[in-house]
Point group: C2
Chain length 121, copies 2
């Protein structure tokens, strides 16, 4: 039985690279991932799943084709499946991602920003 608590800030302290989500917990077939982000990510979408962003520290901007949403600490958004989005952060920002196991960070847009999947911290 794994009932260990997880401290988000302690986990963030172990992350040094940007845009490379690290798994911290699993719930059924879903994963909780933390990422430090800064500057621009790429346009992409996830055709088979919604994807949740929760901002822990800093400000995350998510561009959609028709609008731009800025999220501060304690704010979240669920990006629906199939919806193109491009996250960016002018300053370093700490985010939590929640999505099914196996989802790649760049979705349908493989690039040099595609991170190795299922890396735990």
């Amino acid at each position: 039985m794994n009932t260990k608590k997880i401290n988000l800030n302690k986990k963030f302290n172990k992350i040094s690279d940007y845009w490379s989500p690290k798994v911290i917990a699993e719930m059924n077939d879903y994963q909780f991932k933390l990422a430090k982000v800064k500057d621009e990510f790429i346009w992409h979408k996830h055709d088979n799943t919604d994807e949740t962003f929760i901002v822990i520290n800093g400000t995350l901007t998510i561009e959609f084709k028709t609008e731009t949403v800025m999220l501060g600490p304690g704010e979240m958004i669920v990006v629906p499946k199939g919806v193109e989005h491009k996250p960016r952060a002018d300053q370093e920002c700490n985010i939590m991602l929640i999505e099914p196991r196996g989802v790649t960070n760049t979705g349908d847009s493989e690039s040099e920003m595609t991170a190795e999947n299922d890396v735990w911290v």
Copy 2:
């Protein structure tokens, strides 16, 4: 396309009753719920699903049969399916729950603390 951001504290301000999770967002067939909690909940388990607790404000204590875990702001735990647990909070505490749509707060232990399900805030 629903790409509206959600501010957790603004949602908590709309909640007045304890131990009555309110849905704030859905991701695929999972729900994000917020709850204000204070004093003791009841022993229960969820036989078919893991359940995630994230503490937003305050301190949440979760008793398991073999240990007790205290969670502060920015800390989380995934309670595995089938594991009996009893949450409590000596002071008012704000938590986020993440679990599949349809999960009842008291799991296998229907009681007067069983809250109406699928109520949005």
